[in-house]
Symmetry: C2
Subunit: 219 residues, 2 copies
């Protein structure tokens, strides 16, 4: 009995750590896009520096997962909860990396002015942040509906990405001087679109965790 | 004794499956970039269709990993071998997705002519394929040297990416009519660069597997 109780406490700790990591990368996305919209190098460097903590937490969570798997011989459903945690942590880490890439774009653009005020990009960032929060909620609450809702939200992000893509393409066509910055801004949106994909991945893992069946949401 | 023997046989099977998956995505990269260089839609559709098999193998490998972890209570070093397999499989799946994205670019470009013959892009693809092969060899042979060599190769890929980036930027600046295709080609190279990152990730996992210490290679 004691061992099982210890096991479930450890599982809860694991989930708390995952949520903590989720909040960290959510904050990183927000700050990275804020730094870009304001071309604020200080905020950008804060995001870059913060990624070490995200990576440390990832290593910690992975170690906990392996320890739990090896020492506790969990049953099928718990096994999926832990396996899912190992997958989610990879998606979160990649999201953190994308936030760093966005922040680095801010640093590269120091000394320039933005081609136009960023409106849609922060909106896209908000959408991906919401998706990430939903994805983690679906994991903690084991909520199939929330997990499934991510596919639709991912479509909305993809549509916005396409729209921004066309606008930037137009800016490049209009003046060669715009090309360099427009490409960088395009890459930023591409990363936000990838972040939404990662959130959708997490949703797929949660569906697998609850149902035992793997299902692709975004194809 | 029988259980341990069964365990090691299962481990070997797991590694064989991982290598098989590696060969599949290596082939997918090769075919995707070939389809692009020749604007061959048939090859491109072959890559897109082949991704299902990659995903099926991923699910199979992950299930084997979880089964091995839960049923066999492996010791620390075996634990790392299995945990590493679970991570590598994610990188391989992502590489497969990138190959599909490249193939889809070929499909989008049907009816167009290439702005210029692709020379550096296939070269970049070859470099990333070699890195992937090295990464998987380092896993199977538990070879620290090969794993560590990936960082240097990743730098070479990054350098080539920067060069192609500048060339495409120039093409866009020279003629607005080039913008659309140049962006798509840029995205392709960005994906190849990401594939190299995934190979480097695998190298990091192998270093962890051998030494028990996590170490970032490409920062």
């Amino acid at each position: 009995m004691d061992t099982r109780k210890g096991f479930h406490q450890s599982l809860e700790e694991l989930q708390r750590d995952l949520l903590k990591m989720g909040v960290m990368v959510e904050e990183a996305i927000f700050l990275a896009v804020k730094s870009l919209a304001q071309l604020d190098e200080t905020i950008a460097r804060q995001v870059v520096a913060g990624d070490d903590k995200v990576n440390e937490l990832m290593v910690e969570i992975e170690s906990s997962c392996l320890r739990l798997l090896a020492l506790q011989q969990p049953m099928a459903s718990d096994l999926r909860v832990i396996g899912t945690a190992m997958k989610i942590v990879t998606d979160l880490e990649r999201i953190g990396d994308h936030a760093v890439d966005i922040a680095k774009t801010t640093i590269r653009l120091q000394g320039e002015k933005l081609l136009k005020p960023l409106v849609d990009t922060p909106r896209m960032a908000d959408m991906t942040k919401d998706m990430l929060r939903d994805a983690l909620n679906s994991y903690v609450k084991k909520d199939l509906e929330i997990a499934r809702s991510l596919a639709k939200k991912d479509d909305a992000v993809d549509a916005l990405f396409k729209q921004i893509f066309l606008e930037l393409e137009e800016l490049m066509g209009a003046d060669p001087a715009n090309v360099h910055q427009a490409i960088l801004l395009l890459m930023v949106c591409r990363m936000l679109e990838r972040i939404a994909d990662h959130a959708t991945n997490i949703g797929e893992w949660v569906i697998y965790m609850i149902t035992g069946v793997r299902q692709e949401l975004n194809h």
